[in-house]
Amino acid sequence: MALQGVSKSFGTGLTSVAALRDVSMAFPEGTFTALMGPSGSGKSTFMHCAAGLERPDAGAVFLAGTDITKMRESRLTVFRRNNMGFVFQSFNLLSSLTVRQNVTLPFLLNGRRADGKWVDEIVERVGLAERMDHLPAELSGGQQQRVSIARALVTRPQVIFADEPTGALDTQTGAGILRLLRETVDGFGRTLIMVTHDPRAATYADRVVFLVDGGIVDEMSSPTVERTSAWLSRLDA
């Protein structure tokens, strides 16, 4: 997965905001990258462009050798469905569907039968085997987030995007989610990109990329709490 000279701005004229300025970045297969930066620095925009949810104004996004910015809307949607997974900050589950139905929703959209064994394995892994027939409203926040992760994994995507997946969780639960994410990289060989504000969460990643004002300003491999915290506090100064 790679971005090449991606730019994106919102609005027109005086109110125009440049959210991303000519960003290029590569994400090797089987790596876990954390994206950090102050609020409004363009992290979410970066993810949305990388995931094809938003069309960049300029630049290209490559996944498995294809430039997804050149794809037509409906083809892109199907491509996204099969090759990318998403975990959002707020637990975006369909409240009318049970846990099982939420997890297998991508299959339903594909018009295919869910691979039962694989679904069971994932659900087992995220620890929701007993909760399969519950509605989201009957689950805790952490459990709901684990459902999102299961859903993101179920299509065996090449890349998984997670926008502040632990933002709304306590430390304990958050740690569990992060371990789960780490495992998807180590165990299944997925590429994972995660936005976070939490230096401790960043330590689960292989490297941290720092974004300021829509541009990449720094990169750090094998991050520790101290180094990332120090870096972030330098920004404030």
Binding site: S90, F91, S95, L97, P136
Partner: protein
């Protein structure tokens, strides 16, 4: 996708309950309207008077009036279809009698008659329409059988049918006064009483001797119908074709004898059909809006969910199919619930129509397949159409919206919608201009269509218009309370879509209620105004039975001392070739008024615009300016006309006049009517005094003329004002029913829109608002919504009414009693506020944190 739709419907019962209710109600309304409309169209069983006969030959009412007999057909001819066909020459009967297979022919003559007890008081209004007079030989056609007495033999003997005998209290041997067109009132002796040998509705009937009725028809060389009794075992189709050959041109041979003359109820059925047609059109229109509104709301409510599906990888097409599947589920359930309800409702409604006097006594629901097919098609079709437009909007929801905390409201109208809105706006403007230019009844009818096109325009451009209006109205609301008023105004400005979809049903309700109530009142007001200007007579004479006065009355009035001028107006049906002279001819039957041109100026000021009425001789014709304009006639043109007896003639347009409302669009000379329509009766006789009062001597005339009613000018005008009462009551009642339906829909839409904001209210309360403050804010928004709805509704209704008035009478004035208008507005306000505040109260009842905590 169907599965996803189905599941969504199942788990969101509460949310779907609203749209289900809306569609089910629409289905109910369409079913009821369809059943009643079909019942009215097919309810008239025709005349049963020729029941015993094999074939009937009548004159052909569809005579070509074009010079050279160019074929033309008018299609539907609402006046002509209810009139008796033209008369036949007696020679037709002789020719038909010679046809092999014909055992016997009987000629039938039908005349106006009004029977009262001799010397008795003037009879009250004839309940079952006119009594018809026939020759005794016609009694075999039904047949009638004598119960007492003997057949009429002497010229002054009559036989009554049982109904007439019972109503008048006459029996065999009694003396009766019978009013006819040719004789006026004349005394007869009742020779017997006869009853039809078959049950069912028939005209009230009086039988004369054959010679007497021939004389009373005013033309003994003509007959109204030739009834044919066939030899036994003759093939009827072959006989009919032989009879057709023998009868010749200008005749009609009917094997279905029920079509030989209009039935006693035919007029009533036409009126019922028209009434139900208008009511069904309005109800159907409301149904379309309600269903469309429901689905667009469904999408607005579920933006986040749809965006999430898009983010996960649902294509736009999949979202569209999901909404369509939901529409299918909703319409299927709605059909199952709504159709039986609609069928059940049609019986009491039919009863209501009968008891209100809008429908004839025999009116009852007929359950055919057509209304059901129409309902099913409409129910599924409308929901699919609504789901399609809503689905298109849903498919445009962007996936990233799911990832933002507060879903951004849709800001833009699609280009297609803007274009369509502009097109309907332009169409509305065109209709207004065109209907005013056309003028007359046609222009006024066209203007009614503007209410529909404007309504569509407003719906299409709704958010644009409401955003502008909200800016205007909002400052008023800020007074409500600084904080809440401000919030309400800000919300209204920021959410034009929500305001639009909530205010449109209110606009709809206000528009149609106003138009349905004020339109007839306006026509009545304008008619009265024109009559006031037109009528210079001191007295107006009319008939008690509504059928008209014989010419003998006019003659007798003219002889009275103190009378300086008398003019009778006698309606006769004429078939006119419409359209410019020399162009393609479309035939339409109009009721022309026959007048004595010399007498008119003293009694009726018609405001002649071109030409002179004094030149209205028996080859002349005058037309209202609006009819002349519509048909592109000019004074001096010669117009092809077919007269009631079938005669074709060219009449010259001698004048056009302005004051036609409440009179007629066409005038011909009394001479012409006397020659070609000897049976015609005067609808009114206008009388002017020479200074002495003639009121007493006029009243004394009622002794000789039992159907005569004499009215002073003032009394006549105030009677005009009351004339529409029974129709008006029915209109009110049906408006209330449609209003109730609209009200439920408004409630439904507003309640759903409010309930969808539970989270927003909770957030406000977490930020420190009290429940009361939230409710004040919601109330403020509701007020803005209602004010906008009422404003738009009033504007549309006013535009329609002004155009209609301008078309009809060249004045923008329309009737809108302030009390009724204010009641409508008050109801709309109460409805709008209640429908918003009640669900809002429910929404703020649970603790805020529990709402925020319950994630979507």
């Amino acid at each position: 996708m169907l599965r996803l739709g189905l599941r969504s419907v199942r788990t969101r019962k509460a949310r779907f309950a609203g749209s289900l209710l809306a569609v089910a109600l629409a289905v109910t309304v369409i079913t009821t309207g369809g059943v009643l409309l079909q019942s009215a169209v097919t309810g008239d069983g025709g005349s049963r008077r020729f029941h015993a006969v094999t074939l009937v030959v009548t004159g052909n009412p569809h005579i070509s009036v074009a010079p050279g007999g160019r074929p033309i057909d008018s299609g539907a001819d609402p006046v002509g279809d209810r009139l008796p066909p033209p008369r036949l020459p007696l020679s037709v009967a002789h020719r038909v009698a010679q046809v092999p297979g014909v055992r016997e022919v009987v000629t039938d003559v039908s005349i106006y008659s009004h029977v009262v007890k001799a010397g008795g008081p003037s009879s009250r209004l004839n309940a079952d329409g006119a009594t018809r007079g026939h020759g005794w030989s016609s009694s075999r056609l039904t047949p009638y059988r004598l119960r007492e007495g003997h057949p009429p033999v002497k010229p002054d003997e009559i036989v009554l049918d049982g109904g007439v005998a019972a109503r008048t209290g006459l029996g065999t041997g009694d003396f009766a006064d019978v009013v006819t067109a040719v004789d006026g009132s004349r005394r007869y002796r009742v020779a017997g009483v006869a009853h039809p040998a078959l049950p069912g509705p028939l005209h009230a009937t009086v039988f004369f001797t054959d010679q007497t009725v021939a004389r009373l028809s005013g033309d003994s060389t003509g007959v109204d119908a030739v009834a044919v009794f066939a030899e036994p075992h003759v093939d009827i189709a072959q006989l009919a074709s032989r009879v057709r050959d023998a009868a010749g041109d200008g005749t009609l041979v009917l094997t279905d004898t029920s079509q030989a003359e209009p039935s006693a109820d035919s007029g009533a059925y036409v009126a019922t059909t028209a009434f139900l047609g208008i009511m069904s059109a309005v109800a159907g229109f409301v149904a379309i809006f309600v269903i469309a509104g429901t689905f667009s709301l469904l999408v607005v409510q579920r933006r986040r969910e749809i965006a999430l599906l898009r983010a996960i990888g649902a294509t736009g097409g999949q979202v569209r199919r999901m909404i369509a599947a939901e529409g299918l589920v909703v319409s299927a359930i709605a059909l199952v619930a709504g159709v039986p309800a609609g069928l059940a409702l049609s019986r009491p409604l039919a009863g209501l129509l009968v008891s209100l006097g809008v429908a004839p006594a025999g009116f009852h629901p007929v359950y055919g397949a057509i209304p059901l097919i129409v309902t099913a098609a409409a129910g599924v079709g409308l929901t699919q159409l609504a789901a399609f437009t809503a689905g298109n909007r849903a498919a445009r929801v962007r996936p990233t919206e799911a990832l933002r905390e507060s879903a951004a409201p849709l800001k833009r109208l699609s280009r297609l919608r803007l274009l369509a809105g502009a097109a309907f706006g332009a169409l509305s403007a065109f209709i207004v201009v065109n209907s005013i230019a056309t003028g007359g009844n046609k222009g006024s009818g066209d203007a009614f269509v503007v209410s529909f096109t404007l309504m569509i325009t407003v719906t299409l451009l709704g958010p644009l218009i409401t955003a502008q209006l909200a800016r205007l109205v909002a400052p008023l609301i800020v007074i409500l309370g600084r904080g809440q008023g401000f919030l309400a105004a800000a919300n209204a400005k920021a959410n034009p879509w929500r305001i639009a979809s909530a205010s449109i049903p209110i606009t709809l309700a206000v528009t149609f209620t106003c138009i349905m109530i004020f339109m007839p009142q306006t026509v009545q007001m304008l008619t009265l105004q024109e009559s006031l200007l037109r009528i210079h007579a001191d007295h107006v004479l009319v008939s008690a039975d509504g059928q008209g006065l014989p010419s003998a009355v006019t003659r007798d009035v003219a002889r009275l001392p103190g009378v300086s001028a008398v003019a009778a107006t006698t309606p006769i049906p004429v078939r006119l070739g419409m359209g410019a002279a020399g162009g393609p001819v479309l035939t339409r039957t109009l009721m022309a008024l026959a007048v004595e041109p010399g007498e008119v100026p003293a009694l009726l000021d018609l405001d002649v615009s071109v030409g002179h009425l004094s030149t209205l001789t028996d080859d002349g014709i005058a037309a209202s300016s609006s009819l002349a304009r519509e048909s592109r006639w000019h004074v001096g043109d010669s117009l092809p006309v077919a007269l009631p007896d079938g005669t074709r003639k060219e009449l010259h347009l001698v004048a056009t006049y302005e004051r036609s409302l409440g009179l007629s669009d066409v005038l011909v000379s009394a001479d012409l009517a006397a020659r070609y329509a000897p049976q015609a009766l005067a609808s009114a006789i206008y009388v002017k005094d020479d200074g002495r009062s003639t009121a007493d001597s006029l009243s004394a005339l009622t002794k000789d003329h039992p159907t005569l009613v004499t009215l002073s000018r003032g009394a006549y005008l105030s009677q005009l004002q009351r004339s529409n009462d029974s129709q008006t009551t029915a209109v009110y009642l049906f408006i209330m029913l449609i209003g109730l339906y609209t009200a439920i829909s408004v409630m439904n839409t507003l309640a759903a829109a409010t309930a969808a904001r539970t989270r927003e209210f909770a957030a406000l309360r977490l930020a420190g608002s009290t429940r009361r403050q939230v409710l004040t804010m919601v109330g403020g928004e509701a007020l803005i919504t209602v004010v906008i709805g009422v404003l738009l509704g009033t504007l549309i209704a006013a535009t329609t009414l002004v155009s209609s008035s301008l078309a009809l009478a060249r004045t923008p004035a329309f009737a809108a009693p302030p009390l009724i208008y204010l009641t409508i507005v008050a109801l709309a306000v109460v409805l709008g506020l209640a429908a918003t505040l009640l669900p809002a109260r429910m929404a703020v009842r649970p603790s805020a944190i529990s709402v925020i905590g319950a994630r979507e």
